[in-house]
């Protein structure tokens, strides 16, 4: 048995999704709006989820989200949420897993986790 250590330090250009990631780093929700059918999707995907059109424009959302399903691990929580104004949903990390609420808002993710993170509103509907 021999031991090997491989340390990787990736740099990942985001191409045409760069505006989305730049907004996310500031805690803003930048969505795609289909130029053909008007469908709004967040997070963006580069192609319209309804009509497959590739012509998409950027549009800002409020960042408010409703929780559809929530799963809890021993130390974290994640949810499938729908952001206000979007037709698709998103898997997000929950910043404050001690709160049980159906409503949340996009926040800046920790530097170590650059995906989507929401903070739940502790005055929200507690149906989850």
């Amino acid at each position: 048995m021999t031991k090997h250590r491989l340390t990787l330090d990736h740099s990942l250009p985001k191409g045409r999704l760069t505006p989305y990631f730049e907004a996310l780093a500031q805690g803003r929700a930048l969505a795609e709006c289909c130029s053909s059918c008007g469908r709004v999707q967040f997070p963006p995907g580069g192609i319209c989820g309804r009509c497959d059109a590739a012509e998409l424009a950027w549009t800002s959302l409020s960042g408010n989200a409703v929780v559809i399903h929530r799963t809890d691990t021993p130390d974290r929580a994640f949810a499938l949420v729908r952001f206000e104004g979007a037709k698709n949903s998103a898997v997000v990390a929950i910043a404050n897993p001690d709160v049980r609420s159906s409503w949340g808002r996009l926040v800046i993710s920790p530097a170590s986790a650059q995906g989507l993170t929401i903070e739940l509103n502790d005055k929200g509907n507690e149906h989850v």
């Binding site: 048995m1 090997h4 491989l6 990942l12 985001k14 999704l17 999707q41 997070p43 995907g45 989820g49 559809i68 399903h69 799963t71 809890d72 691990t73 021993p74 974290r76 994640f78 949810a79 499938l80 729908r82 698709n88 949903s89 998103a90 898997v91 997000v92 990390a93 993710s109 170590s112 986790a113 650059q114 995906g115 989507l116 993170t117």
Partner: protein
């Protein structure tokens, strides 16, 4: 195939490939020189720390000079490699193809590192960077399925316990456990509603099958199994981009294609090995494959039990037999063929079915592969 387990005996993934290949050659009554193509299935080079594994495996098992390539499709890698090997035979590019699947996902890296790597099986730019695990994504999908079908955690636990019980008869199984539903219910929560015993293990191991036209195999008088239909399809990578995150749409499409290619309907299937990476995923798969009009009702009446009308995962499935990713789909094809022949060294179907179905997927049913096997 080799045993699926967490290897502690000092053997290497190259040894496992060699063992699986030698076993397949002996079973087919072929010499190594009869093989003219090699298709390797392996999900991630991070596990083996070996890029270009196909050429390395060709070198290791004595197939230098053969056409060789590697197929990758997450958890469907092994099954898609079988499809690729079959295409080589059907197109005339090769006469006898060895398909070798391998993964060292249990013992080469610590579990936390493997979990981080596997979280990039989804959309790594969104889900992966969120730090969400495979189990959490599957849990969210299962919750959508449970909400729609009224399946309960008891239904999930029944699958988890039954597959481990089935595995007890399988000498190659990773988790042959004598457990009941109540054991599942008290195992530690990994990501609600999934508990530890709802999740398949990370396994080490290799599996090999040899594909050929009947006329290119030795006339040994042995009954063989034909792949009579295949289908594959893909879905949106992100759960949130699906109209119903609890439904495996690509699997539905892949199954319809495989059944149509075989010229049969789902009612003709008499045994199935389905992709049960999680207990709920087995129910979601059975629904998508069209093998039941009401998966929850059929689960509760025992239709999928070893003595049921449609035995499912007699090998133990991923939950019981284990899941060395690249080898998983190859092993699923192998054990289904053996079950049709009645030669599986574990539980075999009692009814002597003519058709068996094999189902695998990568991501969360994002890349799906289905095959129909037929006893000749």
């Amino acid at each position: 195939m080799t045993p699926f387990n967490r290897r502690k005996d000092g053997s290497s993934w190259r040894d496992w490939c060699r063992d699986a290949f030698v076993g397949a050659l002996a079973d087919a009554a072929l010499e190594k020189s009869a093989i003219d193509a090699l298709v390797v299935a392996s999900e991630s080079d991070f596990f083996t720390l070996q890029l270009n594994p196909a050429s390395m495996i060709a070198d290791t098992i004595g197939l230098v000079g053969c056409r060789s390539c590697r197929v990758e499709g997450g958890g469907a890698s092994g099954h898609l490699a079988v499809h690729a090997g079959m295409a080589m035979v059907l197109s005339g590019q090769a006469r006898r193809v060895a398909v070798v699947g391998v993964e060292a996902s249990a013992s080469h890296l610590d579990g936390k590192t493997v979990g981080i790597l596997l979280s990039h099986s989804f959309d790594s730019w969104t889900d992966g960077f969120t730090g969400v695990s495979s189990t959490s994504i599957y849990a969210l999908s299962a919750m959508a399925f449970m909400e729609r079908t009224k399946a309960t955690v008891n239904d999930l636990a029944a699958v988890a316990a039954r597959n481990r019980q089935n595995a007890r008869a399988n000498p190659n199984a990773h988790l042959p456990l004598d457990i009941r539903e109540e054991d599942v219910a008290v195992s530690p929560v990994i990501s609600s509603p999934y508990r530890r015993l709802d999740c398949c293990p990370l396994s080490d191991g290799a599996a090999c099958v040899i594909l050929s036209r009947p006329e290119d195999l030795p006339n040994t008088g042995v009954v063989r199994v034909r792949i009579s239909g295949t289908g594959a399809a893909s879905d949106r990578a992100r759960l949130g981009d699906r109209a119903d995150p609890g439904r495996f749409r690509a699997k539905e499409t892949a199954a319809k294609r495989a059944l149509a290619a075989a010229g049969i309907t789902a009612e003709a299937i008499g045994v199935a090995e389905v992709y049960d990476s999680y207990s709920g995923a087995q129910l979601q798969a059975l629904e998508a494959l069209g093998l039941t009009p009401d998966v929850v009702a059929d689960e509760r009446v025992g239709r999928f039990a070893s003595c049921g009308e449609l035995p499912v995962n007699l090998s133990g499935g991923l939950l019981g037999q284990g899941a060395p990713v690249g080898a998983t789909g190859v092993a699923q094809v192998l054990v289904t063929a053996q079950q049709l022949l009645g030669s599986f060294p574990g539980l075999n179907p009692r009814s002597g079915p003519k058709y068996g179905l094999v189902d695998s997927h990568g991501g969360i049913a994002t890349t799906c592969a289905v095959s129909v096997l037929e006893l000749l």
